[in-house]
Structure formats: C-alpha cells, structure tokens
C-alpha cells in the first residue's frame, strides 16, 4: 500500500501580476516504510512539495492522500490535529523554540495528546535517549551544537511516533561528522521503526543512503528511474 499518493499536484504563488508555478502536475507514490530522497536544483520546489505533504501549506490544485486520508478534505483545525499525530517535520535550521529546554522542546507535540504526565515524561526521555542526548534535558538550544540541536529536533519529530517523517535538508547546515550522525539516525528510524521518510537533500552521498531518489526540476518530477521503489533496507546501497 502506498503511504503517500499525490495526483496532479500544483502549487502557484501569485506575486503581484506574476504567477510562479512552483509545482506543476506532480504525481508521486511513496510506499509505506520507504526512505525517499528528494533532489533538485535550488528553487525547483522541493520545500514546497514537502510543505504540502506536511499539511502546513495547501496545494493550488490536485490531491494528496496520506495513509488513506485525503488531507485536502480537512479544515484548518482538522489538519492541525492530523499533523500532530501523523507527521514529524525536521527543518534545515532545526527550528527549536529558543526559550524552551531540549526536554521542553521535545515535549511540545505531546502536550496535544491525551496521555498521562508520566507517559509523556517517559516518551520524551526515550526520544532524547534514542538521539543520544539523554544527558542534555535541561540544555537550552543556545547551549547545544548544531548537530545536537538537530538531534533534539529529530527527537521532537519522532516523539509522537508519526507514520511520516519529513526532513528538509536535515544535514544541510552540519559538519561532516554531525551530518553522518544524523543520517545514521534517520536510517535507523526507517529500518527499525518502519517510519516512512521523505528527505530533501542537495548532497548525492546523503541521497545515496535513502532507498529511492526523486528528482524535481522547475516544479516537475524528472527522469525517475524505473523500479527504484522500495524500502531502504531492501537495497544494500546504504552504508552503515
């Protein structure tokens, strides 16, 4: 079953007289549990596509079905509730709330869930342990390195156990070692927990660790290789 089905997806931005066709008739199917890298030149519409999949932006035309739910049918609040249970989003620039500690940042999405305080605490602690930051609960973002910040952001994205993780150049701002660390983490999430991951990247070696690469150019999907679908762990191409 496909986790994500996009049909005739279009996104136009209107700036004065000018209409910028950021995405044009994008059709894409992504299978549950797969790890997809999204590549393409700057301005090709990668972030736009990711935002549409995350339900933080609305398409101009076309449909997006995720886990059998047409997210175009959801109203503003419905979409917010849907995001809080189904999507974990990882940004290039981490986007932690500066006034909150690592622990509190990771706790944020769980405050929307009907769980006990004890369970919330356990889940936050687990998520921070998973990303190797069990000893940094009380640190503020400004007291962490970029790599550590990004790992907090990953913990925040996975703490609700979403089916879909979207990552926009998650290693784009990191040094080589931190980037490798973050990639190891994403590969592990995909393999061990079966989470579907769509990741934007500019770096071919980073893309190589995903199971499949989708290319965007000028708002269109281009020469997607046939039969390249599948789970990352079905292929031996990624290094560990």
């Amino acid at each position: 079953m496909s986790a994500i089905e996009c049909r005739n997806l279009r996104k136009d931005y209107v700036r004065g007289e000018e209409v910028i066709q950021t995405l044009q008739d994008v059709d894409i199917d992504i299978e549950a549990g797969s790890f997809v890298a999204l590549m393409g030149p700057s301005g090709s519409g990668k972030t736009t596509l990711l935002n549409l999949l995350a339900g933080i932006d609305r398409p101009t035309g076309g449909t997006i079905e995720i886990g059998g739910q047409d997210i175009g049918d959801l109203n503003r609040n419905g979409l917010a509730a849907w995001r809080s249970t189904h999507v974990g989003y990882i940004f290039q620039l981490y986007n932690l709330v500066p006034v909150l500690t690592a622990y509190e940042n990771v706790e944020l999405p769980l405050l929307l869930h009907r769980i006990t305080a004890a369970e919330r605490h356990e889940r936050v602690a687990d998520a921070l342990s998973l990303v190797g930051l069990a000893d940094r609960h009380e640190h503020y973002p400004r007291q962490l390195s970029g790599g550590q910040e990004q790992r907090v952001a990953i913990a925040r994205a996975i703490v609700t156990r979403p089916t879909l993780i979207l990552a926009d150049e998650p290693t784009g701002d990191l040094d080589r070692a931190s980037a490798a660390n973050v990639m190891d983490l994403l590969v592990r999430l995909n393999r061990e927990f079966g989470q579907t991951i769509v990741m934007v990247t500019h770096d071919p070696s980073t893309a190589a660790r995903a199971g499949r690469t989708v290319h965007l150019d000028k708002g269109k999907i281009v020469d997607e290789p046939e039969h390249a679908h599948g789970h990352a762990h079905d292929h031996g191409e990624h290094r560990k």
Binding site: I56, D57, L100, L108
Partner: protein, 386 residues
C-alpha cells in the same frame, strides 16, 4: 491536555525566561496602576466625605456667610435653642482653632467640646490607642489627639503639644475611620474659648454639631434651625456634614476630580505598554508560532497564548502597583484638611481589586489584535518572514 491549560506553561516560560523584557514591562504597568489606584483612593476619600449617604444624621450649624473657623462666631447659648428644634437629638458646641485655614497637609484642628458626654459618645465608634479619658477629664488643658496627627507630629500620651498658639497636654490618642477625626485634637470647650480668645469673648463657639433623630428629615431640621435663628443677631447656615465638607473642600475636590484624568490616563498607559510589549513579542515569535502550528497547535492555541501573556503581564503589573498603592496610602495616612475639615485618603480593598482587574482586562484586550494576527498567519508565511 486541556486546550486552555496546555498553553499556560509555555506562556509562563516566555515571561519568566525573558526576564529583562518582562521586568521592564511589568514595572511600567505597576507604576501606571499605582498612579491609578492612588488617584482612585483620593476620589474615594472625597466621595465618602462629601456624598450624602441615606443614613446621614449629622448637621453642622455655621455662622451665615462665614466660611472659615476664624470668622464663624456663634454664641454658645444657641445650644439650647437648637436642641429645642423638633427632630434634634443632640447639639454640641464646638470651638475650632486651626493653625492654617487653607488646604494643607499639616493642619492642626482643635475642637473644643463639652467636658461631659461628647467624648464618651464620640469614642464609642473609635478606639483609644493610648492614654485615657479620665486623664483628659482631670486636666483642663488636656487634649485627645487623632492618630494621623499624632503619628505626623510623633505625639505620645503625656507629651506637651503646642499649635496655633494653644498650649496643651496630650491625654490620649485614638484611632478612628472617620476622616474628620484624623487631624484633630479634642480639647475642653471652656479651655479653648479662653485661650483662643485671650480671655475676651468667652461663650463664643465656631459651630454646633447636631445629630438628628431621623435621617430622612435632615434637610427639614436644618431649615428649621436656620429659620429659628434667622432674626437673631448671628444668623446661621445649617448643612448636612457632607455638604459642609464639600463646600469647605471645594478647591481640593476640584483638584482631585482633575486628578481623575491622571487616573484614566494611567489606564491608557497600561493599555499602551501591554499593546506595545505584546506586538513586539508576537513579531519576535513569528517563527515560534509557525513551529508550534507545524507540530499541531491550532491558530486558536496561538491566539489564546498571546491573550494569556498579555493578561498575565497586566495582572502582575496591576497586582504590584495596586498593592503598593494600598500599602503606601495606608502607611502615609494622607489627609487634606482645610477650614477645619478633613478629607482622608484611605486604602481600600475595592480600589485595589479594581486596579488589578482593570489592568488584567486591559492587558487581555490589548492582546486581542496581535493574537488575531498571529493566529491567522499562514505557517509557511511565518517561516519565510522569520
């Protein structure tokens, strides 16, 4: 977690962890609320002293067309005439000597009252802090002093107290809620008549304090007293005590009601301070709000957070300012005294509560527009703006 409660911890952290911004804003609100509460307390004092209550039973008989204790002179013998007017329960001749006829914060008013009866009655509603009534009775130059005056002049029972050319001995100090008792020293009528008039015109008093039996007949009794003395050598004007104070204190009342503008302006300042602080905070947090919404928080959550923060700022500043005003007024025991009457500025729980509530409500209202803007901003737009 409950939709309203889940925003509280984040809002609290935003306030408590941006210490400088919060302290500056709260301090500004506190100062403005302090001013508001202070002015309101003054207005409250004026209202209480000058607005006739339904249960008012006191009249003041004064010399007609005279407005200062120095010039109001009435024969003590009027006492019997006044007491005979139907509806009069009691009439007390009072001699008033002040050290300053104009409005002032350091006025001493001597009231000469009869040796028997008056002080016993009068002290029923008040409490003697030190000294005793027996001491007062045993010496002709003894005075019983109101607590505000005693505190200001640092008087204790047994001290000598000289003012306005009158040399007295403090026999007791009493606490009273009545503004008219604050700057007052009760002396023996005969003693004050002799000393003040340098032995000349004994039997002359300044005014008569009259109690009526039925508050609804207050005006009628006043008219009847003046009627009866109209053709005498010294015609009188009799007014309810509140009206008497209102007339004597008209300058201060005009000033205080003008100060009311300052009170309302202070509230405008509270509003402006919070509106500004919140507008800046919301602009600073465009990205934070976009993050929260990405995580599933709704526009309503964001709006509520902003209103909550504005309300909390108002509540904190309002509480500090209003409570500080309450304490300052209680501590300072301010009284405006003029022509022998006083208007007290007293701290009241209701003025304090109103100050806190208004600051909180104004804060919340000041947060509404920024809250609306923040809640309507598209998430993607938020990330691009930040």
């Amino acid at each position: 977690m409950n939709a309203l409660l889940r925003s509280v911890p984040i809002t609290w952290k935003n306030l408590s962890r941006r210490t400088l911004r919060t302290v500056l804003t709260v301090a500004g609100i506190a100062v403005a609320t302090f001013l508001f509460s202070f002015v309101e307390s003054m207005r409250d004092g004026v209202r209480r002293a000058t607005e006739a209550g339904a249960a008012e039973t006191r009249l003041v008989v004064y010399r007609k067309n005279r407005f200062c204790p120095f010039t109001s002179k009435l024969p003590q013998s009027y006492e019997r005439t006044i007491r005979d007017v139907p509806g009069v329960k009691s009439a007390v001749p009072v001699k008033i000597v002040v050290n300053n006829c104009r409005a002032s914060l350091d006025v001493v008013t001597f009231r000469g009252v009869p040796d028997e009866g008056f002080m016993e009655d009068h002290l029923q509603g008040a409490s003697l802090r030190s000294g005793s009534l027996a001491d007062w009775k045993s010496r002709s130059d003894a005075v019983i002093v109101g607590s505000a005056l005693a505190d200001r002049r640092r008087l204790r029972a047994g001290d000598r107290f000289d003012a306005a050319g009158v040399r007295t001995l403090v026999a007791g100090i009493f606490d009273s809620d009545d503004a008219q008792d604050q700057n007052v020293a009760y002396a023996h009528l005969g003693f004050l008549q002799e000393t003040a008039e340098r032995g000349g015109t004994g039997g002359i008093v300044t005014q008569f304090n009259v109690e009526v039996t039925d508050p609804s007949k207050l005006e009628d009794v006043a008219a009847a007293i003046d009627e009866r003395l109209a053709h005498d050598q010294f015609p009188t004007t009799t007014r309810p005590e509140s009206a008497f104070v209102a007339r004597a204190a008209r300058d201060v009342i005009a000033l205080v009601s003008f100060a009311g503008i300052v009170g309302w302006a202070s509230l405008a300042a509270v509003f402006a301070l919070i509106a500004n602080a919140i507008a800046l905070a919301v602009r600073d947090r465009v990205r934070d709000h976009a993050i929260l919404q990405t995580l599933g928080w709704t526009g309503m959550d964001i709006a509520w957070m902003v209103v909550l923060e504005a309300g909390m700022l108002g509540a904190a500043g309002g509480a500090i300012g209003a409570v500080a005003a309450y304490a300052a007024i209680g501590f300072a025991k301010l009284n405006f005294t003029m022509e022998g009457v006083s208007i007290g500025v007293t701290s009241s729980a209701s003025v304090t509560a109103i100050g806190i509530l208004l600051a909180t409500a104004l804060g919340a209202v000041a947060g509404l527009a920024p809250a609306w803007t923040a809640s309507r901003r598209e998430i993607v737009q938020g990330f691009r703006t930040a």
